[in-house]
């Protein structure tokens, strides 16, 4: 990752080192996960990722999908942009439909 990317990542998600920033992450989910899964998360080119559609996932499995992507599909690895705790926050948020 180059320096510009790092700086941007920190600007967008100021809480990388500490507690996840709920507002920034919620925005990321809606706007950027939403690029493929839809702003309402009901699916687009990517599948529905609302709580009912993800109910077969355990939090850790879903976190791993977020961090490492699904090879062979358009789901990219978010590890370059998200910390472990941020991915955990997003997994929890997607599974419950609310901020953990």
């Amino acid at each position: 990752m180059n320096r510009v990317t790092l700086i941007l990542a920190f600007t967008a998600l100021p809480a990388v080192a500490g507690e996840p920033d709920a507002l920034a992450l919620e925005r990321l989910v809606r706007q950027d996960c939403g690029s493929c899964h839809g702003l309402t998360l009901k699916g687009g080119l990517g599948p529905d990722i609302r709580p009912a559609a993800l109910s077969h996932y355990k939090t850790d499995t879903l976190k791993a999908v977020i961090l490492d992507g699904i090879p062979g599909t358009p789901m990219p690895p978010w590890r370059p942009l998200l910390s472990d705790s941020e991915a955990g926050w997003i997994a929890e948020y997607l599974l419950t439909g609310e901020s953990p």
Binding site: V4, T5, L8, A9, A12, Q31, D32, G34, S35, C36, G38, L39, T40, K42, G43, G44, L45, G69, P74, P76, P77, W78, P80, L81
Partner: protein, 400 residues
Amino acid sequence: MKPVLRFIKNSAPTEGIRCQILAMAIAVLATCSTPQALRAQATGDLGLVVERASGSLLVVDQSDRASIGRITGLGDLSHASLVYSPDERFAYVFGRDGGLTKVDILAQKIVRRVMQAGNSIGGAISDDGRLVAVSNYEPGGVRVFDTDTLEMVADIPTGCKTIGLVDVPGTKFVFSLWDTGETWIADLSGDAPQITKIPGMGANPYDALVTGDGRTYIAGLFGEDHLTALDLWQEHPKPQTILPGYAKGREGLPVYKMPHLEGWALAGHDFVLPAMGQHEVLWVDARTLKETGRTATHGQPVFAMARPDGRQVWVNFAHPLNDTIQVIDTVTKKIIHHFEPGPGVLHMEFTPRGHEVWLSVRDAGKIMVYDTGTFEKLREIEAESPSGIFFTARAHKTGL
């Protein structure tokens, strides 16, 4: 007003007062019944900007660089696009939630609205302006509607996600199937649609474009290391691989937003296409479809759009580099300008002759207008999470 004047002239003097009263009455009636003629406004330099989160459209005036109104109540407009009627008065808006809305940009209001599917991804208007087609993910397929009534006139189920829908001459629509790698040509010039299916386009076409002459259809592929072209002027178009192995031997970089191939760029003799999983744009000779060069870019390109004269190509990028624009000179294929308009640059639209460009900067809540010669910022216009910008000049272009 001409008939009224003639009526007065032909009247005998003794009937003058009665005729004048009658003439005034007619004039008053005329004022009431034809407000359009008396308060005429041309639409040639108007446009609409999608406000994705609030489900509204901003009506803008390109010459005045101003917002002149807002149309609300269009539902989920994330990833929405629109097309214009041939008279540039009506727009047909394709919402993500399956809503198809006809708006009158003069009256600044919704004329008709139907929920035609559960999840859709863009549409097109036929060359004769009679039909709009909508591409749907759920239920997968294309539905075609009468532009006057928005009644469905054809349903073309594909059984899977349908992408890259464009209009081509002859009242035809062309689209591709994400799951099966086919392109279908639907001819709607007759009573019932005639469908031609072309298999073997490649794995997972994610978007497609057609050239302004309606001849070359190019599908971008998520699942292959090339793109596929069709020559629609052939009686039996055959898939033709272009840019084979453009990423060969290089690690695929994560794609946080799929590139768009609408708003295709024909710059001089070359197409410019965003690479998938590589931070570069690819140049292809429009006639031979051979690669003519590559330009390394700041990030994963989303849109690579040529200024209408073809002299520059403007590129925006996927998350997390979506605050940046790069401008490429098409003669040297080199980047001549790099700047950061603000957070979330989602879309660009050139004025029809290309002297200015409008950028939607989503997270700044602004549309920014730039001079394409000096790169000077000319104006900022407030907008709520703006995404697509569409000027009415699109009405007269194939494939937009």
